[in-house]
């Protein structure tokens, strides 16, 4: 599968100002000639919107989902109904091998639920995880201001075996997609002391410490995530969801404060100019929201969940990221990594501990 032109199927009902941003991004990507794209949604609306852009019809086509484009954006009932029509088409194309990866801008929990129902896990019993990037300080050997946090799905699974699998999946993703040779993996806990925290965290810690193939750096507190103490942070889905939301909220608040200062007083504007290097760092950190999307790791095909608020730039990045994952054979690498890590799962750790 590596080094060939991937086919990406795009659930196009969602996204900010839908479907304008998604269609514009897909049209631009088609001209780059590195992937084939299939837009699934309201065919007449998508066709009219596509007519406003230059594109390559050899690499971009439309599949009608039979439901009119909702005249609203965001998380709304009409959008959910539309997504319930388009998502099965996209997922069926993935399952049948007509597409290599999927990008959706629909409500994330709906995408996750349908993807888990339709696609098989990479290994029987494996729990797929939603992975998201979060902003960090640059760290040694990795100048990328982002770390990978998983699971952020919001599920209440507190299974140490699943957390160990996610460590393998996250480290493999960081190696294959972000190009980090030996990604460090941290476990989110209440304290760096391995004996602290709930049972499932203690069991997961012991298993990860013994596990080969993953460079485990121990427990991390939430405050350590933005400090960049690990390239990959594993956590149960509920806590991960909360941490991700909190980091996004704080970043938004900080950016809003800078923008307020910029437009409110001339003296503050001058101050911001003097602090331009610092503002530049803030900008770099805030760009994680434009990263492109959160991959669901552990399914037989790649599904990227992009934020329903994705701008054209973010939608374009999501398509780029999906293409990169396919070209680098992420799916095959994840399969191989799971096979290699099969003998150090926490059942053994529990007995030993």
């Amino acid at each position: 599968m590596a080094n060939r032109e991937p086919t990406l199927v795009i659930d196009a009902y969602g996204g900010a100002d839908a479907p304008r941003a998604v269609v514009a991004a897909a049209a631009a990507r088609s001209l780059e000639g590195r992937a084939r794209l299939v837009l699934v949604g309201d065919a007449s609306v998508l066709g009219a919107e596509l007519g406003r852009h230059g594109y390559d019809p050899m690499r971009l086509r439309i599949v009608g989902a039979g439901v009119p484009q909702p005249h609203v954006t965001g998380d709304d009932l009409a959008l959910r109904d539309a997504a319930r029509a388009s998502l099965p088409i996209c997922l069926e194309m993935l399952r049948e091998g007509e597409a290599d990866a999927m990008v959706s801008f629909s409500p994330p929990e709906l995408v996750q639920a349908l993807a888990r129902e339709t696609l098989a896990p990479l290994r029987p019993g494996l729990q797929a995880a939603l992975a998201s990037v979060v902003p960090t300080m640059p760290r040694s050997g990795n100048e990328d201001p982002l770390a990978l946090l998983l699971d952020v799905s919001g599920s209440q699974t507190q299974d140490p075996a699943a957390i160990c699998d996610w460590a393998v999946l996250g480290a493999t993703y960081a190696r294959v997609v972000s190009g980090i040779r030996q990604p460090s993996v941290g476990l989110l806990a209440t304290d760096i002391d391995p004996s602290a925290g709930p049972d499932f965290v203690r069991v997961a810690h012991r298993a990860l410490r013994r596990g080969p193939g993953v460079r485990f750096v121990g427990n991390l507190r939430a405050v350590d995530i933005p400090r960049g103490l690990a390239d990959v942070v594993v956590v149960d889905g509920f806590a991960g969801f909360a941490v991700r939301g909190l980091l996004e909220g704080i970043t938004e608040l900080t950016v809003d404060a800078a923008r307020y200062a910029w437009k409110t007083r001339t003296t503050w504007r001058v101050g911001l100019r003097l602090l331009s290097q610092g503002v530049g760092m803030l900008r770099r950190v805030s760009e994680f929201r434009e990263y492109g999307g959160a991959p669901i790791l552990g399914l037989e095909r790649l599904v990227l969940v992009a934020a329903p608020t994705s701008t054209e730039a973010a939608a374009g990045n999501a398509l780029k990221l999906a293409g990169k994952c396919v070209r680098r054979d992420l799916e095959g690498e994840l399969r191989r990594a799971l096979e290699a890590g099969a003998d150090w799962r926490p059942e053994a750790a529990t007995e030993a501990g």
Binding site: L31, R36, A43, S44, G47, G51, R52, H53, G54, Y55, D56, P57, M58, R59, L60, R61, I62, V63, G64, A258, R259, W262, K263, L272, R273, S276, V279, G280, R283
Partner: protein, 358 residues
């Protein structure tokens, strides 16, 4: 040239329609001027399209180009190398314009090309050729506007006084304007242009041509042109297969690429679903496209999709609002220039802190 009267006239632009040319950079302009004939590259599939069309039946092939007259020898040599017949080649007299201090003429396309079209039409009539024309241009300049204006002035949907005012508006020199009016007066009233194909070389959105009516067909590649001609009964299945085969063998296009182009053409209403069905079932799977992935199963999948499409209705030919179209084209060119400049700019502090600023 055959002695029999032509059944069709193919009127072509050269740069960016037939030839891959970069005239947005100085390097590209220099390269176009000094490039040897054997190094000039046609737009993918266009050479196959042109030779296939000119072989099929009595046809005249006319080129009207904005390239300088000094390139005549190289261009004619290139046609010979490509095996392309050219019955008349009109080039722009840049040196003459500079000698006479007419700097506006160097850049202006409308007066030069309209006059060239009218005069070549008169030449064709003198040869006894009164066939309707199929015109080929691109989206780099205003080819669609010029071809439509040519069609409407010859059909007298735009009268001489309106044409005079329009030429003044676009900055034609008085003697240039009078020569155009004289060339028009020498032609009888007739419906001269049947179709105008605009190759979207610069990736303009197809909606740019919404205001031009059904005569103008924006296309992304040579396959869409030949499929549209087939749909209109202006060529047969052989020509379609020749162009598809050329794209596959010489330009690394595959079966799904051909299928995607056909599907897009049906969706935009430039190929009928009936024609698409014939091509998908009877023509393309039997050629190289079939071996390159456009097999019977792919054809059936495509037909299921195009069967549910409702192509847009095609507007009837009426006199176009040229004064407004000239302004629209100017605005489009300015917006494209700004977009090119913006694409090369690194976002600064202000872009971050004022994201909604124009």
């Amino acid at each position: 040239m055959s002695a029999a009267a032509a059944e069709v006239v193919y009127r072509w632009d050269l740069d960016k329609t037939y030839l891959q040319t970069d005239f947005h950079s100085v390097g590209g302009l220099v390269r176009a001027a000094v490039e040897r004939p054997e190094h000039k590259r046609p737009v993918p599939g266009m050479r196959a399209l042109m030779t296939a069309l000119s072989r099929r039946r009595a046809a005249r092939i006319v080129f009207v180009s904005g390239s300088p007259t000094q390139l005549r020898g190289r261009i004619e040599a290139m046609f010979e190398l490509h095996g392309v017949r050219c019955d008349r080649l009109v080039l722009k007299d840049f040196a003459g314009a500079i000698r006479r201090g007419r700097l506006r003429s160097i850049k202006a396309q409308i007066p030069y090309k309209l006059r060239a079209h009218l005069e070549t039409r008169r030449w064709l009539r003198e040869q006894g050729d009164v066939a309707a024309e199929i015109c080929f241009g691109d989206d780099a300049e205003v080819d669609a506007l010029i071809y439509c204006l040519y069609a409407d002035v010859v059909a007298r949907r735009v009268d001489a006084s309106r044409l005079r005012a329009l030429l003044d508006h676009v900055g034609a020199y008085p003697d240039e304007r009078d020569a155009i009016l004289a060339a028009l007066a020498a032609l009888p009233r007739e419906e001269v242009v049947r179709r105008v194909f605009i190759h979207l070389d610069s990736r303009s959105p197809p909606s740019r041509y919404d205001g031009y009516g059904g005569r103008v067909v924006p296309t992304f590649n040579a396959f869409q042109i030949v499929a549209s001609l087939y749909s209109d009964g202006l060529c047969g299945p052989t020509e379609v297969r020749v162009v598809a085969d050329d794209l596959i063998t010489a330009w690394r296009v595959d079966g799904p690429g051909i299928a995607g182009s056909l599907e897009d053409a049906v969706r935009r209403g430039i190929v009928s679903s009936e024609a698409a069905e014939r091509l998908a079932r009877e023509v393309l799977p039997m050629g190289l496209a079939g071996r390159a992935g456009f097999d019977a199963a792919a054809a059936e999948r495509l037909l299921r999709r195009v069967g549910s499409m409702r192509p847009p209705s095609v507007a009837a030919d009426v006199a176009l609002p040229y004064e407004r179209l000239v302004e629209d084209e100017r605005a489009f060119a300015a917006a494209r220039k700004m977009a090119r400049q913006a694409a090369g700019r690194v976002p600064g502090l202000r872009d971050f802190l004022e994201p909604d600023a124009p």
